[in-house]
Amino acid sequence: MSSFSPGLKFSQGMLSRTILYEGHQSLNARMMAFGGWEMPVQYSGIIDEHLAVRKACGLFDISHMGEFEISGEDAGGFVNRVLTNDASRLSVGEGQYSILCNDEGGTIDDLYVFRLATTRYLWVVNATRIASVGSWVDRLRAGSDLMEVEVLDRSAHWSALALQGPRVIEFVNAVVAGPSEGGSAVAAVTDLAKNQIGLFRFGDEPIWVSRTGYTGEDGFELLIDGGHVEALWGQLQSQGHVACLQPVGLGARDTLRTEMGYPLYGHELSESISPLEAGLGCFVKLEKGEFVGRDALLRQQSAGLQRHSIAFRMTGKSPPPRPDYKVWLGDQALGVTTSGSVSPSLKTGIGMALVSVNFPKSGGAFEIEIRGRRYGAISVRKPLYKDAAS
């Protein structure tokens, strides 16, 4: 078992720690390196935490994620000019999933954009992509005729938690009080609709709460000044007791999102994979007018896509599929898996792959090579797990 390494693998240099690091340790979390951060991969166990989120609820430290604020008179115009989704549809207090492309149509990052106020937007970006988003947006802003735009990387200021699962609505209002003071105007956190965001209070402290997540379940994501995140984490843990709240690590975060067929940057998306190839065409509004990467994406579309992201499940007993396994159709090498795992909900191997054949959305049979042997798989329409709330 030489590949087995107790403890943490340090990649290069020091890893960053979130403010909650010691809290995770006191919960006996197993830590892992992820995108330059030392993060909890699991507490009680990946399968247990996964099922807790599907059946009750879970609490995730996602403070490693990045936040950018874009403000100024031209903020709305700029945001819509650089992202693929139609940000002009956002009212104050609304958010949407979107993509930041490069000029070739490849993906700089996938992100959530929220309209916090008339001329103020928030992007929540992947931890691994903060620097790349920052430098690309600086270049786009420098080259833009939209002058009244300020872009601030607020990643060091904000800490973020995700509260996910059908039972979070039982106690979230007891921790974060309404009514909202900004963003969406609601009486209580649980009055937020899907993709809405509001500014509330945790004690005296401002806190942004959105009804979003990366699990497929109902839930919220909370942004608070890092100086108050430990108190928030503690309050959620104690109030969440009534709803069987459990801390959940990145391991279950990955299996939960894989069951939904949600992309993970570096797997389904990269600077050389376009959102169209990744199957995210519904978040690319080619008809909305000029935006970064549009010309390249239009060319891709008219020439026909060379690669397609598909979701699949294994059809028989097999080892768990994992990223970078070869995909075959007879003698033809079709591409590679991009994500893969055992689905704790479905108790079978599932994943996503980037392939050169336009398979039917469901029912297309192929094979995945695992350690020199081939195992049967079948394309499945996303989400792979169909009983989630959203």
Binding site: M1, S3, Q42, I47, G251, P319
Partner: protein, 128 residues
């Protein structure tokens, strides 16, 4: 270190345990290893009859997160495998030294035995 490391067994640095019964070695993974690997969801066993060299990868255990090779701690021929763990990988977590054994090797080179670790030496190797 709270891991259970039975005295009567021998160990490999790569975390396999070995129970010697005349010329046959039964092999599994240590309690420490199963705890570090976390909940196992899949075990791939070698074929009976396969000849293996010492330190050759010959089985795989997989958690939700990772796949890890298991190495033959001694050279020889695989003479038996524990089919129940292929059906229920959790046996390796629950009973690493009993129902969770992986395979048996008919030893071809008894000289290799002297290189295996005692329980005390293995404890030292994982305490560093």
């Amino acid at each position: 270190m709270s891991a259970n490391i039975p005295n009567e067994l021998r160990y490999a640095k790569s975390h396999e345990w070995i129970r010697i019964d005349e010329s046959v070695a039964t092999v599994g993974i240590s309690d420490h290893a199963q705890a570090e690997l976390t909940e196992l969801v899949f075990v791939e066993l070698p074929e009976v009859g396969r000849e293996v060299e010492q330190e050759e990868a010959c089985a795989v255990v997989e958690s939700v997160k990772t796949a890890s090779d298991i190495y033959a701690p001694l050279s020889g021929t695989i003479v038996a495998v524990n089919e129940p763990v292929a059906e229920n990988a959790g046996l390796v977590n629950d009973e690493p030294y009993k129902g969770g054994w992986l395979f048996e090797i008919k030893i071809s080179d008894p000289d290799e035995l002297s290189g295996l670790l005692t329980a005390e030496q293995y404890l030292e190797s994982i305490s560093g």
